[in-house]
Symmetry: C2
Subunit: 714 residues, 2 copies
């Protein structure tokens, strides 16, 4: 979300207006109390929509989308032509008649969002973006699915202008869209004033049969229905075909009744080529602002292909030269491959120009808002820019012995609340474990259908949607989302974590109950493999703090780290506070691993993370008392440690020392650090149900065991 | 599923009859063609059920469940009392009036299955099992949540008699139950004859609000509805409370309409204490055999607790001494803690004895079946015992140069079909990627609502439910399930994979498209971290074969391995066939890793898995041509390799050699194998969309790169 109003320039024939926070400069920043407006959208500023009858040029525009998709897939000899062929009329109608967007400024904060949840239909999006005037050329389309192109097999956010999120893994886009609608509702409730709406846009998505079958569609749709996200409008591409064949093979839900049961308005378009019906349905969807709308659109996969239409063969493979020919004949299409007829380009430009005018209206509104509410405008500008508020770090608490021994989840709750008081974009909650994850923000209200300004989210027992909605919230901009659950249930949301990492999005996971240390709940709730399985996700930063002060540093990093997700692994059980007057400062967390105390040339180094750091310290003290040269290292974050210089790393884990790692988890991620001469005290089986002290003892996760291992290695 | 009919003995006062396949000995084994009976259940043998009015003894029995739960949680100072208190009348009614079970033989193949999907209510199950006469004593209950007890925090299969599956992670039990109902339907259709029903039982589950919120409930319920699993009966514990508070905070689905939209019969019990209503609803559910039934039961969490009932406080913590006292007063309960009044024990014994009589009926039916259909009975006995058919390994194909270069997914399809022809219990399918995973069994029919004998499953785009249903299918017994999807989507089913490993259940995952080698679909579809993240799950065996013959050996292991899940990682792209006349035999797969070719005392060893083995061979040949002492090792399975003797492992990866690992995946799992002096050619970022050869080149996953690394290390 970058916005600058630094003048006008023409891109692809479209007036291009940026919003510039410099207009706000010189306005005194003063804290304000934001009233909680009612959930009714304050102002609908765009004029009423008139449904128009289709014309020949409409058909030509639609067939341009279709043939671009057909040609690109054919040339790449790989891809999915069928869905774009069926959905072209919908995409055309939506992009040219309804969406408020400005292809010249794909980052305009108040643009409508569009998400293609059935990401394999990527050519639908690429063709539509190209025709709309986004910075995506015909040459880019010709390079579909080739190395380095802007048109990868599935749409990738930050790779292609106008692609709002990375999709492909089914159902994710639908839940991302719910998250975007949440962000819009929250920012609108926070910033809009009765006479000024600076946030007022819709979120659209298209979902296929696969998205509707995935469990995440249930979680996200149930959430959207409960919270009455009235500016969320989805299309279900109801084409009765999935990769294996007819959906009748396995999927006969009554989706209309299903979504009605979630509290959605459900509309039906019986012919996906009926532009008037599509147009009217969208208008009707917009008119009901009290609940989300699903428009079920009956389409024909591979529309127009004489031998492939309505078959699974149209789904995921090129039509083949012969069928391409027959299909183009059926369209009456006489142009060479990759042609955009001039009248199509012209028509599209005119249509989009009219839509982009909304950007100009919005700019005027922001100017009015800035005059009337300078402080709010300043704050809105800051959040739109993605800057953190000045001085936010000053509130991070330092824990002393007066705080006593507290669990890192408890420290996390304290730190989170301190930071959240200064960082209003920090919003989030828990998947029905708020009291365990300690994720509740005091005095910040609940996000409810009647109070979208509330910052505390009850995500429900919906880990997967929580993860994916957080992706949508951060992608929307203006928000730093966090979400809590038990570490073991990171598994439920893993596809969403992966996508946050792939998209380099700031999402913070508060994973508590991070080992056998949770005790009685037993092996179903005790993570063993989870730290390793998260550490190997490229771009995810996993931090497992050793005490309250490391927890504070972990949160500091998580807020500062704007280019990727961070997972915090926190204990249920209490942890001793490390005495920082005699041991190194917790600021060492920023380096991933650091020496807490010990000999400068140790023969043995005990290295641990989280709750096991106290065992490393205990083992070190035992060795020291025996006159050995020993050291204790805290390693809260392997990813950050790997980024340090070789010299620094060698100073923490010297080549000459025996390295003993201690972590109540699978040892796999430690082998590279301890090397051939070291060892790991870890767990390679599942846990057990009992008071945690007993489990630690039975599993040998003890200082005594670490000392014995050191003895055997030295 | 073990069953032996070796006489009678009395356990807990109940007649105990085993079914003994020795009665079948001497019958000639002959192959038979099993006709596909219609999907209507052949015979309902149990007498019509009469709903009976409640009595005082009923109340006393119900309050015994409640007080046992209260006392156990109080004594453990940990656990969930509220749900057992609300659900006690339902459990009592179900176990004493409906379920066909024999506590003396919890392994009776034709018993009704009961699954507690809201596993945190474990004390409901433990109390009910104890009162029913299962081998679970009052002392076991007193040891609730303690080290080594039979009563862990959440129910664990194979740990406690009568616990059909391990639950706790929400939604899993519901999907397990669907899998059990699938198994019942399939075995009934396969073995029953018009006049003899040897498989004819119900599957019951209880699910809580959390289960209903989880996405997996959508996938599994949609599947069950489509396939009209008429002998599946679920109860929704509709108590309006989850951990964070009222479900009104976030969950207001109309669950009745939602399940109706899936094709379920939905019944409502408005008072969870109304035994007549519960009784009638179950009878009505049984009467409709054409679709699954959900019975929505309005209950009160913490029923009877004056200050906790209907609050989240009743959910996950002990009531506390004072409230325990008040609650028992409200029940009119005057006994000391952990008391089963004698009249309760007596009443329960009588009730269960009547239910267990069904076991005797079944025994007679099996005798009749054995006389009429000796071959089928022999086969049924074999599958009930869990024995593999004689000679099944003889059909495993050996691939030669005549087969040409084929992808390991293609080899897998060939091997799977060969084995399946001999192993009829091998049934499965794909999550809508049958044509890509090559999981279809030829000439074996499709599992459809009209043909439950079919062996090919269209699981739909429901990876999570597929995984969890497979757990249910294997737990039921008589079946070896397999399921396919792309390796990257293992993430969608990870909670189910973990539970298969925890329960040591035989489930086979066919994960194809196992690296950047899938090419154009791009980073959303290209696994990077997945091999490491699966290898660190305790008890899961991950095999990534290098060519067609290793794929055959991988399947051999997967079928033989009866005590845990196996994940096969298979390529989309073609692989060269390793010449076994000049290289070691593929039987080395059984040892996890083996030397393909090379010097006996190598200075450098190139070790790889799957598609990268050909690169290891190429690098080795390059070094050899340069006169270096080199070797090439195939490492299809790290878990099996770790189980070999230190001597064997050192013979494959000698301490004196530089070890270079090559795998188009995250390197983390290799560090322990290559050691301090070795190196890994791997991937620590996400993939890219392009033809795969280009990606391999750009990412440096090449023999040239491996040789360069070797040069730099030597």
């Amino acid at each position: 979300m970058r916005g600058v109003l630094h003048g006008r320039r023409r891109v692809a024939g479209i007036l291009h207006i940026h919003w510039d926070p410099s207009t706000l400069r010189g306005l005194r920043h003063r804290p304000i109390t934001v009233p909680f407006p009612s959930r009714k959208p304050s102002i609908i500023l765009h004029p009423p929509h008139h449904v128009t009858a289709p014309t020949d040029i409409d058909t030509l525009c639609i067939n341009t989308i279709r043939t671009l998709a057909i040609d690109a897939v054919q040339q790449a000899d790989s891809g999915h032509p069928g869905a774009p062929m069926g959905l072209a009329p919908l995409a055309y109608t939506l992009f040219t008649r309804h969406m408020r967007h400005n292809p010249g400024d794909p980052e305009w904060p108040d643009r409508d969002r569009f998400v293609l949840s059935n990401g394999h239909a990527s050519m639908l999006l690429y063709a539509t973006l190209h025709l709309s005037g986004y910075n995506l050329s015909l040459d880019d389309i010709k390079a579909f699915r080739q190395w380095g192109s802007k048109t990868p097999g599935h749409p990738e956010h930050s790779h292609t202008p106008g692609v709002e999120t990375t999709t492909g893994p089914l159902g994710q886009g639908l839940a991302n869209a719910v998250g975007m609608a949440v962000a819009e509702a929250h920012l609108a409730a926070t910033f809009n004033r009765d006479d000024h709406a600076v946030v007022n846009h819709h979120t659209y998505f298209i979902a296929g049969d696969g998205c509707m079958m995935e469990g995440i569609s249930h979680e996200a749709a149930s959430f959207a229905g409960h919270f009455r996200l009235g500016k969320l409008i989805g299309f279900y591409d109801d084409n009765n075909i999935s990769i294996d064949g007819s959906t009748d093979l396995t999927f006969t839900d009554n989706s209309k009744e299903r979504f009605a049961a979630y509290g959605w308005q459900v509309l039906q378009v019986n012919d996906g080529n009926d532009l008037v019906a599509i147009d009217s349905a969208i208008a009707e969807a917009k008119a009901d602002t009290t609940r989300p709308t699903l428009i079920i659109v009956k389409t024909h996969i591979g529309f127009g292909s004489p031998n492939r239409q309505d078959t699974a063969k149209a789904h995921g493979e090129p039509l083949g030269e012969a069928e391409v020919k027959l299909t183009k004949e059926a369209y009456g299409w006489t142009y060479p491959p990759f042609t955009v007829p001039p009248q199509v380009a012209e028509h599209w430009r005119t249509q989009i120009g009219a839509r982009a005018a909304a950007h100009d209206e919005w700019r005027k509104r922001v100017i009015g808002y800035t005059r009337a509410y300078p402080a709010e405008a300043m704050e809105f500008g800051r959040r739109a820019q993605g800057d953190l508020p000045g001085g936010w770090q000053s509130v991070i608490p330092e824990f002393t012995s007066e705080n006593g021994n507290i669990a890192s989840r408890a420290a996390s709750g304290i730190v989170l609340n301190a930071i959240a008081a200064k960082v209003p974009e920090l919003i989030g909650g828990s998947a029905d474990l708020a009291g365990s994850n300690l994720t509740m923000l005091k005095d910040s209200g609940k996000f409810t259908p009647d109070n979208y300004a509330g910052r505390n989210f009850h995500f429900g027992v919906r880990e997967h949607a929580m993860g994916s909605m957080m992706n949508g919230m951060t992608l929307h901009g203006g928000i730093i989302p966090y979400g809590g659950t038990f570490l073991v249930f990171a598994d439920y949301m893993r596809p969403a974590i992966r996508l946050a990492a792939l998209m380099k999005q700031q999402v913070i996971y508060v994973f508590t109950h991070d080992s056998i240390g949770l005790g009685e709940d037993g092996p179903t709730h005790q993570p063993v493999e989870h730290l390793t399985s998260l550490r190997c996700i490229p771009g995810l930063t996993v931090i497992r703090p050793a005490d309250a002060n490391e927890t504070a540093e972990a949160w500091r990093f998580a807020i500062q780290h704007r280019s990727g997700p961070v997972a915090l692994a926190l204990t249920r059980q209490k942890l001793p506070l490390i005495d920082r007057t005699t041991h190194a400062k917790a600021s060492g967390v920023a380096k991933g691993g650091y020496v807490l105390t010990g000999d400068e040339q140790p023969d043995v180094v005990f290295v641990a993370s989280g709750s096991e750091v106290s065992l490393a310290l205990e083992a070190h003290e035992t060795m020291k008392a025996r006159g050995m040269r020993s050291a204790a290292v805290s390693m809260p974050c392997m990813e950050l440690f790997a980024q340090q210089s070789p010299e620094y790393r060698a100073s923490v884990l010297p080549a000459s020392a025996r390295k003993i790692a201690i972590e109540a988890a699978h040892p796999m991620s430690w082998y590279g650090l301890v090397g051939d001469t070291g060892g790991v005290i870890g767990i390679t089986t599942f846990g057990a149900s009992a008071p945690y002290q007993r489990i630690y003892e039975e599993y040998g996760i003890t200082a005594k065991h670490a000392v014995a291992l050191a003895d055997s290695l030295l």
